[in-house]
Symmetry: C2
Subunit: 124 residues, 2 copies
């Protein structure tokens, strides 16, 4: 489904840019206010597709009525976590395992109980 | 229950040290290898209580058999997120709301379906 594909792609992009992500967290101090505002804008705009999928899924009754503002940034944090905590996660999981486990974590909270059986291959 | 208290306390500590948390992410580059290793050790040791609660809960059959290594660091990321993404979360939620919403997010994935009714006040 679209949400799973979106999360997977977002984490893959973090993986492809793992040095840039950690660099951005480290070096934000050296940017001026305009530079920091620009990074914040980019985080909001690059997360827009995830937000759209969540809002569509909730509107269609396919997903639980979660707090979208929270969920989008939680997904961002978990994706950036692949870079920020690579010393921990990278030693334990492959990229594919990390994606699969985080998707399982998120789907368990976001899928209505009665729909989990249809997605058993993703939730287990 | 102990897990909820542990998560709440961990996020409260991040809130009390919000500048120190962002500083640590920003300035890790300026530390030498020993300094960075020390921070990693501290993250592992300060998260040990959360790990213990999770392992006890799983052993007692109170929690789903989740991946503890993943869950502990996901909880760390979501707690640090209160500092790292304060420009986003801080504008939307109070500290108490943030704690309540993140606990709801986590419990929904970690509590067995048949036990969620007993914790309805935390999961809704």
């Amino acid at each position: 489904e679209r949400l799973v594909a979106g999360i997977r792609r977002y984490i893959e992009i973090v993986d492809e840019n793992i040095d840039a992500v950690t660099l951005t967290y480290r070096e934000s101090r050296t940017l001026d206010r305009a530079g920091r505002d620009r990074i914040k804008e980019l985080e909001v705009s690059t997360s827009a597709p995830l937000r759209d999928v969540l809002e569509d899924g909730i509107a269609a009754g396919l997903l639980n009525d979660v707090d979208v503002d929270l969920m989008v940034f939680d997904l961002l944090l978990l994706a950036h976590g692949w870079a920020l905590k690579h010393w921990h996660f990278g030693a334990l999981y492959s990229l594919d395992e990390y994606i699969r486990l985080q998707i399982r974590f998120v789907l368990n909270t976001i899928l209505p109980a009665e729909r989990r059986d249809s997605y058993a291959h993703l939730v287990r």
